[in-house]
């Protein structure tokens, strides 16, 4: 099929970008969206032009490295019948003659590096602030010494499947990273091992979230609707409950 692509081109962070149109004549329905971009890049290379920069790695929907806004929706969510990452979106969801707009994540906390590539290191800094259980290698007790109820363990797992792609931030009108942050808070809060640092963790992570330029959460829900791993919006409720509870206790990020 024939596809017209309108792609955001921006040489580097400091330069101004613009949408540019490209024509692809030989796209097959079996190709993934990123293979279609590969095809564009081969075409550009053969014409001596610079290929479009985009992040990607595993191409199995699990590493979280890929992610672009397709026709206004992160990961092309509105072109796909199921929740998906960009790499798992396939061209059979598009039609001959379609015009597809491709843009980078746009959020204050994710500065553009080049074309469709953004800097998501702010996510690492949120985890760094407290998204872990403090246990040194070698000091762990026997695995069965602490049973974890299955229901909570499953809930923890549902939140732990977050891949840190940043679609939630890109979808949010406020550029908030609350779904990402709450996924980690919910994961660890539902496990017995996560209890000792529970209050400290939520305060520290929220502080890092705000310090790194993410916007506030207004429970709009765009984040959960585009999330490729379907992290439930209820995770943010869990975070808020934990935060309020934590505010009445002294253990916090500076304690």
């Amino acid at each position: 099929m024939k596809i017209t692509l309108k792609v955001w081109r921006q040489a580097r962070n400091a330069s101004t970008g613009a949408m540019q149109s490209y024509q692809l004549n030989d796209v097959s329905a079996e190709m993934s969206f990123l293979e279609m971009l590969d095809m564009l890049n081969e075409q550009l290379t053969s014409q001596g032009q610079e290929p479009v920069a985009f992040d990607h790695d595993c191409r199995e929907g699990i590493c979280g490295m890929c992610g672009v806004v397709i026709n206004g929706a992160p990961h092309g969510r509105y072109s796909s019948p199921v929740a998906t990452t960009t790499c798992q979106l396939h061209m059979r969801n598009f039609h001959d003659g379609d015009v597809i707009e491709v843009e980078p994540w746009r959020a204050g906390a994710f500065p553009i590096i080049k074309d469709l590539v953004v800097d998501r290191s702010a996510f690492d800094r949120i985890i760094e602030a407290g998204g872990y259980i403090s246990v040194n290698t070698g000091s762990a007790p026997e695995a069965h010494s602490t049973p974890a109820p299955k229901l909570q363990a499953d809930r923890a797992f549902d939140a732990a499947t977050c891949i840190g792609c940043g679609a939630c931030v890109a979808a949010c009108p406020n550029g908030s990273g609350m779904l990402f942050t709450s996924a980690k808070v919910t994961h660890l809060a539902n496990l017995p091992q996560g209890q000792p640092e529970r209050r400290r963790r939520v305060k520290a992570m929220i502080a890092a979230h705000d310090d790194n330029g993410f916007g506030g959460c207004q429970n709009i829900g765009e984040c959960a609707s585009v999330c490729p791993k379907q992290i439930p919006l209820a995770s943010i409720g869990q975070l808020n409950r934990d935060l309020i509870a934590a505010l009445f206790h002294a253990d916090g990020r500076n304690s």
Partner: protein, 673 residues
């Protein structure tokens, strides 16, 4: 297809491609009973006083299970750690894609499992080409891994009583595989990543993302640092340390199409190899039988589906080639060939990975494959069209268990299949085909995980050590974490106790030389300005490797491959087109450097495969098979690790053999009939 007759052994065609060298031995594993070796080594290894650790710097390249775990653990110990990865975050390393699970000898199932049994299964599964001492230790620490991960908050599957669930995996007879749905690798990696970020917060680990190692610095015979390219600015700069750890994964992408992530590459280990680190058993690659087939020429990578599917799915092809284009549901039972059940009545669809893969290839070679036609270049240079797929059919399982039960067991895999292929596997059989998945070969290391360059340590898939000629399912995660959490942190101190070493600076001759080499390569790649893209060369290299050094190898084919690779490499340096400049985010340039190294590795893989005139594990030589077509090992001649030494561009490598001595396990020929 013509069957090559076995050539007389007196003229070994491999001899023309290498120089024989002296035997090597691991000198670090203590003598004595196997269960006493690791405690003895831990006791004899020299220690570093906690107050002195912060004066010592360790560079770790890679942030997967091995690298991330090692960086976190060495950070906790108080060393000054510099950690590098090419991705934008340490959480993206390709360990994340592992689905099935992680083995551990906990014996929670009360089913006769033990450290010794895990050790035995791993050596046997590796077709007796792994080092006993390393494998025993791996089994020994496997239980600690589970403890550690649970304490970190890894959400393993649990029973209603709140304790951990396990399942069986990969043909072994005990249930020792711990799992987190179909995302075990992801959850273990996130656990290691969180431990790592905790150390970043503590200031013991400095994280350098979007940095690619492009050269190793060796000074005074010791690994003393690396050169990296900043993938955003293009800056090429040196980093110094008292020891260097490579945890950079495998090199399956030499085949272009594999289940590896797009960025997985051999550059770090190959650069170290060129600086003196021996490369061991490079031809040992694992081809995984249950992957989604290639859809066409624009395919960029392959997706694996957990082999647990083979527990209930039945594999078949039509008996007659003319049925291959029919709707499979219209083909009656009597016209189907359930070839694994036919050839291997005892194990049926659950034969080991290498056998399932090779038989799928045989069926397609016979013209009985299914799915779209794929254009291929054959060994005689003509092009042909073949269907590369076999059916994996769940109709019988759905009839027996009901659709609901099948959905509960395999639902996420079925969804993934449908998303990629657009076909509904509940209604029509899946199509699968083997794909390159894992590389057992890697840099040679001793019991301490130290390479042949003092101060250079290698962990995880990047080293060669534990899986022999074939890796069992759910063992890669175990090895990565064993190396990173428990082995390296107990051995590297023995070396670091000799430090801090002499201070390095940009004017140290070896640093200036390494910087010059790295910059020179980039300039060379950019200056060719030929007519072909990097990807087009990579695809061509992959096609050569898949055809001649894939599931079945012959002396004749491997020699052809070496000629083709040499020609392709020459073409590459004369005709590659790399757009853009160095001082920029330039993905074409990144790939160009990696493909250049793959081209060199590819030749060594073929030489290694040519030298190994036996079939073992994932390495099948057509000349070495039993009368009924099964792999035939040759323990008299090849019970050794082939460790290759680099001698210069265009020079023959030197082969060092490490004889494999089996003190505790008796060598047997595998049989699955």
């Amino acid at each position: 297809m013509a069957v090559t007759k076995e050539k007389p052994q007196s003229v070994d065609p491999a001899a023309a491609f290498f120089t024989p060298g002296s035997d090597i031995h691991d000198t670090k594993a203590p003598a004595g009973p196997i269960e006493k070796k690791w405690p003895a080594r831990q006791f004899t290894a020299k220690l570093v006083n906690p107050a002195n650790r912060r004066k010592l710097t360790v560079i770790i390249v890679g942030t997967g299970l091995a690298g991330g775990a090692a960086a976190a653990t060495l950070g906790e110990a108080g060393y000054n750690v510099e950690n590098f990865c090419y991705q934008d975050s340490p959480r993206r390393a390709h360990s994340i894609a592992a689905q099935g699970g992680i083995n551990a000898a906990k014996n929670y199932r009360n089913d006769n499992d033990s450290v010794y049994r895990l050790f035995y299964d791993t050596v046997k599964g590796g077709d007796y080409r792994a080092r006993e001492t390393n494998v025993y230790r791996l089994a020994e620490v496997s239980g600690n891994i589970i403890d550690q991960c649970v304490a970190q908050g890894v959400p393993f599957a649990r029973e209603y009583g709140g304790l951990l669930d396990t399942r069986s995996f990969g043909g072994v007879q005990v249930q020792r595989t711990f799992y987190a749905r179909g995302q075990t690798g992801q959850q273990l990696l996130i656990g290691a990543y969180q431990a790592l970020e905790r150390q970043v917060n503590a200031g013991t680990v400095k994280m350098h993302t979007r940095h690619e190692m492009v050269e190793l610095i060796v000074h005074d015979g010791r690994a003393r640092g690396i050169i990296t390219r900043d993938m955003v600015t293009g800056e090429i700069e040196p980093w110094y340390a008292d020891a260097v750890v490579l945890a950079t994964g495998g090199y399956g992408n030499v085949f272009f199409l594999s289940t590896n992530a797009m960025g997985c590459n051999v550059t770090a280990t190959w650069r170290a190899h060129r600086k003196g680190a021996y490369f061991a058993n490079p031809c040992f690659t694992q081809i995984h039988p249950t992957c989604i087939p290639v859809h066409g020429d624009t395919q960029s990578k392959l997706t694996l589906m957990s082999e647990s599917l083979r527990n209930d799915g039945r594999i078949w092809v039509p008996k007659r080639a003319e049925d291959c284009t029919k709707d499979p549901r219209q083909i009656p039972e009597s016209d189907r060939d359930y070839y694994l059940e036919r050839i291997y009545p005892a194990f049926g669809n659950l034969v080991p990975r290498d056998i399932a893969s090779r038989q799928a290839k045989n069926m397609c070679d016979e013209g009985r494959g299914v799915g779209p036609l794929v254009t291929e270049v054959t060994q005689d240079g003509t092009t042909q069209q073949r269907r590369r797929g076999v059916y994996l059919d769940f109709a019988e399982a759905i009839g027996r268990l009901g659709r609901k039960a099948v959905e509960a067991k395999y639902g996420n895999l079925f969804d993934m299949y449908q998303q990629i292929t657009g076909e509904n596997p509940y209604e029509t059989p899946m199509r699968i085909y083997p794909a390159v998945h894992y590389t057992m070969g890697g840099l040679w290391v001793d019991y301490d995980l130290e390479s042949s360059i003092p101060g250079l340590y290698v962990c995880g898939e990047a080293n060669f050590s534990d899986h022999g000629a074939n890796r069992l399912g759910a063992s890669a995660l175990m090895q990565g974490l064993a190396d990173g959490y428990f082995v390296l942190p107990n051995t590297i101190n023995d070396y670091l106790s000799g430090g801090p070493f002499e201070k390095m600076s940009d004017s140290t001759p070896e640093v200036a030389a390494a910087l010059g080499e790295a910059k020179g390569r980039v300039e060379r790649l950019l200056s060719v300005q030929g007519s072909r893209s990097v990807d087009s060369f990579h695809k061509e290299l992959g096609a050569i490797m898949w055809e001649y050094c894939g599931m079945e190898r012959t002396a004749e084919g491997l020699q052809i491959a070496i000629g083709k690779i040499r020609q392709l490499r020459e073409d590459y340096w004369n005709d590659v087109l790399v757009t853009g400049v160095n001082e920029d985010f330039n993905q074409a340039l990144e790939r160009a450097g990696r493909v250049a190294d793959f081209m060199e590795l590819a030749e060594l893989m073929c030489i290694d495969a040519l030298n190994r005139r036996e079939s073992c594990g994932g390495h099948f030589r057509r000349e070495s098979q039993t009368e009924d077509g099964e792999a035939l090992r040759n323990d008299d001649e090849f019970a050794y690790v082939a460790a290759w030494e680099f001698t210069g561009d265009g020079q023959k490598p030197i082969l060092h053999k490490e004889p494999l001595v089996y003190e505790f396990i008796e060598l047997k020929q595998r049989s699955y009939k």
